[in-house]
Symmetry: C2
Subunit: 238 residues, 2 copies
C-alpha cells in the first residue's frame, strides 16, 4: 500500500508509537534500519513494514515518502525502513539474572542487554521506573541483542522478595564489598543501581552479598553499563 | 564583570569554543556544571568563569544572564556555571596505555577515560581522526576523570611504530585471539577500534598479540567502552 500524506490516520497512529504511553497502550513498538528489522523478522514479531524502498516483504508493507519517514524515525537523517513490532513476551526466569534499579540512560540499558547476552545471562529484570525498553536508543545500542534475551519489567522489590532461594542476591558497593570471584552461589541476581544514586536503600537491604570492583581511589565509580558488564563477565567466567 | 548582550564580542568568542575548530585554534575549551568546574579549578587550568550565580571566584568571573548561558551551554536546560579552560598538557607516557583507533562516540570516550583511571592506566592515545577530547559529552561522561589522566592526540601508526619495545602491542579479535590473562608483558599498549569497523588493518598488523573476550556466539561484539574496560580491568588485576 502506498501512503503519501503525513495527515493519513495510519501515519498518525505510527507517529504516536514514538511515545511510551502509546507503545504501552497498543503493545507495539518501532524498530528502525535494515539490520535491526531483519532481527525482528527472524524473531517473528513484525506486524507491518514501512519503507521508502521498493522492496517486497512477506508482512504487509506500506510504501511511504521521505517526509513521512522522517516523521516516524527517531534519527535526524531518517531511516529507510521501519518495522512495527509486537512487544516481546516476558518469560519465566531460569538462569542468572541482572536486576536494574531505576536505570535512566537508554545507552546504558542497550549496552547491558548486549553484555548480558554475551555473558550468558538468562534475563534482565527492569524496575518499572527505569528507562523504557522500547526507547529507540535502547534498541539501537543493544545492536539487536534485545531480541535474544528475556526482559521483565516489574516492581523489583516484589520480584526480589518472591525470588526462589536458589538465587543469591548480590548488589555492588565501592566501600565494603567483596571480590565477586570469592562470592559462591548456585544462581545469582546481580543488582545494578541508578547512574547517579546507585542502588536504593530499600533494595540494598534485600541483598545477601555486596560485590565490588577494585579500582584506583581517584575514581569514585564506573559507568553503570561498564560495572554491570564487568560483574556479568566475572560471573560467566567463574 | 557583568555582560547582558548576546552580541557582546566576548560572548561571541566563547560561543565559538563550542566548535572543535576554534577550540584547537584558541587552545581553550568549556567545562560545564559545578562538580566539573571544581575539578578544573583543582587542576589549575581555568582561565575565566562564566556564571549566572552571584558567587565569587578567584579567577576572573563574568556574570551573565540565562539567555547568554543557554547560548554557551551544550545542555538544553543550560548550566549555572561554565569555566573557560586551557587545554591539558600532553605528557610523556610511563605505564600501560590504551590506544583508540577512530573512536567516534563521545560517550564511549568518556567511559573509557573513567575506566582507564579506575584501572591504573597511565595514558590514553587518541587517533587524530577520533572524536574530540574536548567535546562536552566526553567531558561530562568522563565524570571529571579527564583531569586525572594523560591524553595524547596523535597519528597512532607513527606512535605505535616509535613505541619502546618494553611495550607489547595488543589488539582485540573475536575470532582468533587469546585470553588476555594468558598474555605476558612488561607494559602493554591495548588497541581498541572504531565502534562499527574495529581496528584498521594497518594498525592491526603493527600488533604482536590478539586478545579476545570469551562470549556467547549470539553476540557478535560488545560495546567499545565495555570491551576496553574489561581488558583494562584484566590488565590491572593480572
Amino acid at each position: 500500500m502506498e501512503l503519501s500524506s503525513t495527515n493519513n490516520p495510519q501515519v498518525k497512529f505510527w507517529q504516536k508509537l514514538k511515545l511510551k504511553k502509546y507503545r504501552d497502550e497498543e503493545k507495539l513498538f518501532l524498530v528502525e534500519d535494515e539490520h535491526l528489522v531483519n532481527e525482528a523478522l527472524k524473531k517473528g514479531i513484525v506486524k507491518e513494514i514501512i519503507t521508502i524502498t521498493h522492496e517486497k516483504f512477506q508482512e504487509p508493507t506500506y510504501y511511504v515518502n521521505e517526509k513521512i519517514m522522517k516523521l516516524l524515525s527517531s534519527q535526524v537523517t531518517g531511516a529507510k525502513i521501519i518495522a512495527v513490532c509486537h512487544m516481546l513476551d516476558e518469560k519465566e526466569i531460569l538462569g542468572n539474572v541482572i536486576v536494574l534499579d531505576r536505570l535512566q540512560d537508554p545507552g546504558n540499558l542497550g549496552t547491558i542487554i548486549r553484555s548480558a547476552v554475551a555473558f550468558n545471562f538468562d534475563s534482565i529484570i527492569l524496575s518499572d521506573d527505569s528507562v523504557d525498553l522500547y526507547n529507540p536508543k535502547v534498541i539501537r545500542s543493544s545492536e539487536g541483542m534485545i531480541f535474544h534475551i528475556n526482559v521483565i519489567r516489574t516492581n523489583i522489590t516484589t520480584f526480589l522478595n518472591n525470588l526462589s532461594n536458589e538465587y543469591t542476591k548480590i548488589t555492588t558497593s565501592v566501600i565494603d564489598g567483596e571480590d565477586i570471584k570469592n562470592i559462591k552461589f548456585n544462581k545469582c541476581a546481580l543488582i545494578i543501581g541508578n547512574e547517579g544514586e546507585g542502588v536504593s536503600k530499600k533494595v540494598a537491604t534485600l541483598c545477601e552479598k555486596k560485590a565490588y570492583i577494585k579500582m584506583n581511589k581517584n575514581c569514585e565509580s564506573l559507568n553503570a553499563g561498564v560495572s554491570a558488564s564487568i560483574l556479568m563477565y566475572e560471573v560467566n567466567h567463574g
